[in-house]
Symmetry: C3
Subunit: 316 residues, 3 copies
């Protein structure tokens, strides 16, 4: 892979996506060993800079970096100088001066990682920027789909919920379209506006309009805050119309895959029997997350030949 950064799946070629997924598939074996570690990135510095809370994504990247033997540094917003009024660019210049190899970044502002990627020599991996993209999540979703469907070409993926505000959805839409899949989206009008068809997806409103055709149903996490701002009258109403329960699931194909980026609001986006049922591949998504992130770090940073640190003691 020739890229310096992974900022989104928009504009990433089919060949690149295949390379990432194939590399991730090979890295899965590392986490199955007793010694879950390879020396590939020994002595490289990976910084996680999360300006929004996240346990899963951050832990997944942290673990991926550690299993590649990189040193990891956590730079979290709650303790950071950003509180003292420092600009993002100042923070980045300071990180730069510490000579990192990669920055994994989550930021509430769309485009924040792009800005850093343009200015600095290190690899930037976008772990979520505003409502724009979250490419590693879409890659792990696609790896999970590919495991079950063999190929994504010609397959139908239904994304249900607040598609408009979801960076997970957006990255999946770009990636799946590139891989030749057909994407249907369904949700309330405020969450699935007709203009979304410009992204190449088919916009529906009722969940029943997408269920029967889907090879994959991807349920998005609902932000309760958003519901209270008048987008839907209540969580209960949302669950009734857009939540997936066993009854609705029976209207889908028997071999359909049920996915969710987590964490699930059980009883809202789906009922527990669906989340834990036999069509759910939600936990495979998490496992694939570590492998995809190992692949991204490996492909962006390149492996180091081992034993190249030049002896015992540089300063002696």
């Amino acid at each position: 892979m020739k890229r310096k950064d992974l900022l989104g799946l928009r504009g990433v070629s089919r060949e690149e996506i295949v390379e990432i997924l194939d590399t991730a598939a090979r890295f899965r074996s590392v986490s199955k060993r007793r010694v879950k570690k390879v020396p590939t990135l020994r002595g490289r510095t990976v910084v996680t800079a999360f300006f929004e809370n996240s346990t899963r994504t951050k832990t997944s990247f942290d673990l991926a970096a550690k299993r590649l033997s990189a040193d990891t540094i956590s730079f979290s917003s709650s303790t950071s100088a950003t509180k003292k009024g420092e600009t993002l660019m100042d923070t980045a210049r300071n990180l730069d001066a510490m000579v990192p190899d990669a920055i994994i970044m989550r930021h509430p502002a769309t485009g924040a990682p792009h800005m850093l990627a343009q200015k600095f020599p290190w690899a930037v991996i976008n772990a979520g920027d505003g409502i724009n993209e979250h490419p590693s999540q879409a890659l792990l979703d696609m790896l999970t789909m590919r495991d079950h469907l063999g190929s994504l070409e010609g397959k139908t993926v239904a994304i249900v919920g607040d598609v408009y505000h979801s960076r997970v959805a957006r990255s999946n839409i770009y990636g799946l379209s590139t891989m030749g899949a057909r994407v249907l989206v369904a949700g309330p009008g405020t969450m699935c506006p007709p203009a979304m068809s410009e992204l190449g997806v088919e916009v529906r409103h009722r969940i029943d309009e997408v269920l029967p055709e889907a090879d994959v149903i991807m349920m998005l996490r609902i932000q309760r805050e958003r519901l209270s701002r008048g987008m839907m009258s209540s969580v209960r109403e949302y669950a009734t119309f857009y939540g997936l329960d066993m009854e609705k699931l029976r209207r889908a194909r028997p071999e359909v895959l049920v996915m969710h980026p987590g964490p699930i609001n059980r009883g809202v986006e789906m009922t527990p029997d669906v989340a834990d049922g036999e069509r759910s591949v939600i936990l495979e998504q998490v496992t694939n997350g570590v492998a995809v992130r190992m692949a991204l770090l490996y492909l962006l940073l390149g492996g180091a030949p081992s034993g190249s640190d030049g002896g015992d003691d540089a300063a002696a």
Copy 2:
């Protein structure tokens, strides 16, 4: 040791306790070396999942894991998805998908670690669940006692304070009873109810009723919140009746050991001259904590043969 988990000392045999203490005693030498590290658990993943605040216990486990060369991941409740309404079981399923080797868990709900231990293949070490157990603390207490007393058989240990709400006390009661020690407890009636005798201890109320017989006096940390809820009229009254000062200490045997799980409320559970006095073994408890936790990780995970990671670069 044949166990997968250490959830408590209830039901743990004398042979197992001896094996843990003997292993811990051997591991103490590692922390005395210049290079305080052995490759035993290289490439294994140890997750600390603390759903209640704790610096000492978490740091102690973290250090134990690092001195065994394991990779450590911290999953703390304050930044976790549990805030977003995720259930413990969902959190655990997600941890599971990252293929950890051991989870060190503290949780306000009694039985939470037991629930995970039953469902998942990784080792669970209970670092405190509700008012139930905190076995690694009791093991380090017993190692400290054994160092000084030679054997626990037939020795008398007095536990003073809020025994009823103390998981430290409970684990010590189970462990000490198994090792053949006699346990006396003393405290206000709300903190040492007569029904505690069902655990095999002798319930007293005045500290003077336990001092003269004790080989060990274990003072428990008082929760100031609890005092204010009407259990005692004030911290000052508690200190007067149940706090250990030099005058009360003179009524104990001259060779008595004074212990405290920390952090001490100086002037409440004991006066500074007692805490720092020659009968206090409180800091030995902390040192033994790292060794006991190394022993637990070693015994539960087993040592890995070194050099078994199969070459440089798994994905290349």
Copy 3:
């Protein structure tokens, strides 16, 4: 270097400062390699104990320790037992029982690290105590100056701002004086009281009184909290009189160096065109920070011969 600790630059000899700066200059090459890591401190335990918020300094020390292969443990006040009323000495005794090699400490109380250094066998590096000292910051400042000026002997350094309350300024004043530099300070009367001349500096008040003579202008970070307590009528007034802009900079020597310990309040201590301009060496300061901290850890702890951990498995 024969010291156990680095508590401040007061009393540190010219030879010692030169040794630290020379060692740091050699360590800079490590961070430029692909494998940014040397095994020098493998198996040693470095604890960062920050009782005041800091991202930059803590990250810089953490990275320095990791690039020397030490194990790092973070002990932060927000999650610590100090919240539960534990005294600093109790906290330190507990850290001691975990057998660390070095503690990097920031504390609001002047003299806190000195107290620990006196009582405990491990190395203490003061990362800021009250308004007293912050020696590693001054050392990285001096390394940056030396890179550009060749020698500090006879050079003039102007420190501008709240000098009285600045531990950065105080450490620089001690270190620069020892190295034979001349130090001018300028700021409002409450921040640069005449009595500061007892430290061997020349106290001025208007920034124009120091600009023309300076080889280096060091702008200090202003604490907005302090302005509101009546020391200056407003941030805006401070910026007008003491902030560095291009116009004021033209009154300085053309080859003057502009420094700031960060994070900058842009538009207050200096305008963005000055901060990012060609005279600014602010980011070199950060880069030198990692190297200086590697040098300090190396010199205080000594390098370990590699391969000395005595085999695979201590407890087997």
